[in-house]
């Protein structure tokens, strides 16, 4: 091995390691890959926040693209994403279903009255058991579910306009398949 290589090689190895570490530091360790992508949305049957409505089930939403947005009145980041959800609802292109996660119905109601209600339906998951079935570990989380009831994407954290352009519009363009 020539002497120059002997000097340069360790430096090259170090540089390669530095690149690997820098890449490793980029990701957010709190964002976990969801095990639900391309799997059927788990079944549930929950009361609607509005009195006198039938129970909310994934089956009742078959045949259309819909979003399941996990939120709560105690969730700070939900306030951040709320205007984006309202804008989305105003376009009326996709059904937005809320999952009120571990929240008092009265608190949910007050929170929505103060900020506006982007949800077509709101399922009340008071004890968070449906949240567990959906692998929810932080609020807000948003699931994109296609017309066949298959989860196509899961977004952890507040959604914004990019989320809709990147993960919902292509699905709508493909007719929900």
């Amino acid at each position: 091995m020539p002497n120059s290589l002997r000097v340069i090689l360790p430096l090259l190895v170090l540089a390669a390691l530095a690149v690997v570490f820098v890449i490793g530091l980029q990701g957010d360790p709190r964002k976990l890959p969801s095990v639900f992508i391309d799997k059927p949305a788990p079944a549930f049957s929950l009361p609607d926040l509005a009195q006198g409505q039938p129970v909310v089930t994934p089956e009742s939403l078959r045949g259309q693209v819909w979003l399941l947005n996990v939120f709560a009145s105690w969730c700070g980041a939900c306030v951040t994403e709320h205007p984006h959800l309202l804008a989305l609802a105003a376009q009326n292109r996709v059904a937005v279903v809320g999952l009120a996660y571990k929240d008092e119905p009265a608190d949910t109601q007050a929170w929505l009255e103060a900020r506006g209600n982007p949800y077509g339906r709101i399922a009340v998951d008071r004890d968070g058991l449906v949240g567990i079935d959906y692998g929810v570990y932080g609020v807000p989380e948003t699931f994109v579910i296609d017309g066949k009831g298959v989860i196509r994407y899961k977004h952890v954290g507040p959604v914004d306009g990019d989320f809709f352009r990147q993960h919902v519009e292509p699905l709508l363009a493909a007719g929900g398949r």
Binding site: R30, L32, G76, K102, G128, L129, I132, Y134, G138
Partner: protein, 174 residues
Amino acid sequence: MRRSLCRFTLAALLTAAALAPGLLSAEDGSRAQTAADGAPTSVLPAGTDLERLRAIAADLRCLVCQNQSIADSHAGLAIDLRNQVVKLMGQGKTDNEIKQYMVDRYGEFVLYDPPFSASNAVLWLGPFLLALAGVWLARRAIAARALAPADAALSANEREALETRYRKATSDET
């Protein structure tokens, strides 16, 4: 923000534990878990195998406070998941079935001791492969050094050339 909430909860609990030893002994008797900050409270059904619950919970990661197991964490989700473990135990599920229940929902990430699989083979085998590579490199270096004395012997021509230069150098000095 969540993380600081976890830390706050933990600090509150430690303070409560330090201030109220009587409360802790009472907890033993009633088999109730009480979180200091009014977080969900769970009462274990009579006859729950606490040892087994602890063993399973210690192997499951709290997804909100990622460096704690759900046995150690007092985050709301950790308490909910512990309650699920208790429920599944009550349904007669085996340890592996309970862990699979969690993996089905949160991925292998929830396991502190994930099973060997193709996707994590590099992590399991990498250190051993690196150690083997090190041994191989070290043996090669040692073998190279052992050969060195043989190389050091000079040919007749080299020896003569050196002696000539040496003689020339010493004669120049005088």
